[in-house]
């Protein structure tokens, strides 16, 4: 079938799904397009400059920031928010543009690099996440490295302080290695390149095989994950000819403010040990709601809750809910922190008095439901 006709049918399917089935209609067009025209991604990428953003945490918000920067250079299409599998990529490419800034799932990145031949790939970080699906951090890193090696025309930009990102950067013909002065990594005990015990000197690593975060192409101050992602977006933009912009860090935290019957809530996305640990540092108030789910995108196993120290929550008023609220309640109990367990978010937030400011740390699916509501 011809590409143009396939796109037409895919758009029709999307609009049916949206208007008749009342679904978001964001991934259906891409799904239909790839079914009708399997080579759509490579065909539609030819006429424009593709930029991919991948990593465990911060993909969606960093992609948005990069879209803002690139849109000053020309017309841009981008993936529907959070839709980062091949179908989301295909949906984004159905629209004509000079640039496409695509958020790409860690495991789908290889296919997108092969087919879309991006001018640039921004790699943010790689930490343990959804291990039921990713299986092993190293497995994902190896795929990235193979893809980087096989794409000599593509510029790979990334945070070299993360040894798994650095493995890909070191494998690429063209790379721009950014460092924020070094940072410990939860899975950094083993060199992802050669497999020996990775030698760390405080926050910097330097392996006998050569893998290191030192001697980066650009060195910045250390800071929060949001700050790092904002910086990486700007670095990528600059390398492509864009101008540095001021990026609101709260927008990069996946954090949203909402009000529920006079209770002010700051909702923040938390989905794995790295993002929880980052989010916990932002809990300044005393009132907290924690939501843990275990659907596919949340990770169907909750063992990773034991990777996180919740000590900073000690002494606060904490209510938990979600499908796996009991898992986090027991994890906190063992850490000496008692919580109240409720059946759902409505009853959790109703435990707080009008006018109070509540920090809501929410699992991926819970966060999206609350933001959409």
């Amino acid at each position: 079938m011809r590409l143009k006709l396939s796109i037409l049918l895919a758009k029709l399917a999307g609009s049916l799904s949206k208007n008749v089935l009342r679904k978001s209609g964001e991934t259906i067009p891409g799904r239909v397009l790839l079914a009708l025209y399997p080579k759509a991604i490579s065909e539609l990428s030819k006429s424009r400059k593709i930029i991919c953003v991948s990593g465990t945490n911060g993909k969606t918000s960093t992609t948005k920031a990069l879209v803002t920067i690139i849109s000053k250079l020309g017309t841009v299409t981008t993936s529907p928010s959070g839709s980062n599998l091949d179908r989301g990529v295909a949906t984004a490419l159905m629209q004509k543009s000079e640039y496409a800034v695509l958020e790409v799932d860690e495991l789908h990145l290889s296919r997108v690099i092969t087919e879309a031949k991006p001018v640039a790939v921004l790699l943010l970080n790689l930490t343990r996440d959804q291990l039921h699906r990713m299986h092993e951090v190293k497995r994902v890193a190896d795929r990235w490295a193979v893809s980087a090696k096989g794409a000599p025309e593509t510029l790979f930009i990334g945070d070299a302080d993360d040894p798994f990102v650095e493995l890909a950067l070191a494998s690429a013909a063209q790379s721009h290695r950014v460092s924020f002065g070094g940072r410990k990594h939860l899975d950094g005990a083993v060199c992802p390149s050669c497999g020996i015990y990775l030698k760390w000197n405080r926050n910097d690593y330097k392996c006998a095989c050569g893998l290191t975060n030192l001697n980066a192409d650009a060195l910045f101050d250390s800071g929060s994950a949001a700050y790092r992602n904002a910086t990486l977006a700007n670095v990528t933009g600059q390398l492509l000819g864009g101008k540095v912009i001021a990026i609101d860090e709260q927008s990069l935290e996946r954090s949203v403010n909402r009000e529920y019957n006079g209770v002010k809530a700051n909702l923040r996305l938390t989905k794995n040990p790295a993002s929880w640990t980052e989010a916990l540092t932002s809990v300044t108030g005393n009132d907290v709601v924690l939501i843990v789910n275990s659907r596919e995108v949340d990770g169907i196993d909750t063992s990773w809750l034991w990777d996180i120290s919740f000590a900073v929550l000690s002494g606060k008023n904490i209510v938990v809910c979600g499908e796996r609220g009991l898992d986090i309640a027991y994890r906190l109990h063992v850490e000496g922190i008692e919580v109240e367990v409720t059946n759902n978010f409505e009853s959790a937030i109703s435990k707080f008095a009008k006018g109070s400011h509540v920090h809501v740390l929410a699992a991926y699916t819970a966060f999206h439901e609350l933001v959409r509501a």
Binding site: R128, L131, H132, H135, E136, V137, K138, R139, D187, A189, V190, P192, G195, I196, Y197, I300, D301, T302, S303, W304, L305, W306, D307, L326, D327, A329, Y330, R331, H333, V334, E335
Partner: protein
């Protein structure tokens, strides 16, 4: 004995799947029994302590598993484990750790000799086994729940018994049995961490480590959590 030492072996390497929580649950349950605990984290370059009461190993990726094995075969470490077993210390080894204490296993595409503490061998399967698991423990006589995520197929030799009969999931790969046990040495594929999901198992390990029988603990949340998981995993 009112003081016990919990040795968490190579958590930096064997900590990928949350099993480090087993040490915390042991220390927490011990408090109810009036036992004080010390958790000793042993790094890759550290010698194993000779006076541990409970030694813990967790799940890991292949390269980390091989490094842990190499460190445990280094210097006097294996002798320390043999002496510990002789004096009645407990070993709980999960997933990659379970494979390490067996006779042979595969990692990064090659077969290696394990520590030989449990009479099992592990080989890679053709498909990864991922999901909730429920067993009936041969030692405890009741249901245990957890989460498995591994490629290994483990075959028991004549010197080891299965730790649990599989109700749901795969366990050692045959969907019949999970893990292995010999005296105070326990091996299993169950994450969760297993002692968080099954606090009675933590109590059994404390009893075995101290040689004392303790009164039953009243911890409603622990009970609620454990029984809920047993109910929802069909």
């Amino acid at each position: 004995m009112s003081q016990i030492r919990i040795v968490r072996i190579h958590n930096e390497l064997l900590g990928t799947y949350g099993d480090q929580g087993n040490a915390e649950v042991l220390a927490f349950r011990a408090k109810f029994h009036g036992i004080t605990t010390t958790i000793i984290d042993v790094g890759y370059n550290d010698p194993l302590p000779t006076n541990g009461d409970i030694y813990l190993l967790g799940g890991a990726e292949d390269a980390a598993q091989l490094l842990s094995l190499e460190a445990l075969q280094r210097d006097d470490n294996l002798n320390i484990l043999h002496f510990a077993i002789e004096r009645g210390a407990v070993i709980l080894a999960v997933c990659a750790g379970f494979q390490i204490i067996g006779n042979k296993f595969w990692a990064n595409g090659q077969e290696v000799d394990g520590l030989g503490l449990l009479d099992v061998i592990s080989v890679p399967g053709d498909k990864r086994l991922v999901g909730d698991i429920k067993t009936i423990s041969t030692v405890l006589g009741f249901e245990l729940t957890g989460f498995e995520n591994h490629m290994g197929r483990t075959i028991l030799g004549s010197g080891a018994e299965a730790f649990g009969k599989v109700v749901t999931g795969n366990g050692n790969g045959d969907s019949k049995f999970d893990g292995a046990v010999l005296g105070n040495i326990f091996g299993t594929y169950m994450h969760g961490p297993i002692l968080a999901r099954n606090p009675e198992f933590a109590d059994l390990l404390l009893t075995r480590a101290t040689g004392r029988k303790y009164a039953q603990i009243t911890d409603p949340l622990a009970l609620k959590y454990a029984s809920w998981r047993r109910k929802v995993i069909k």
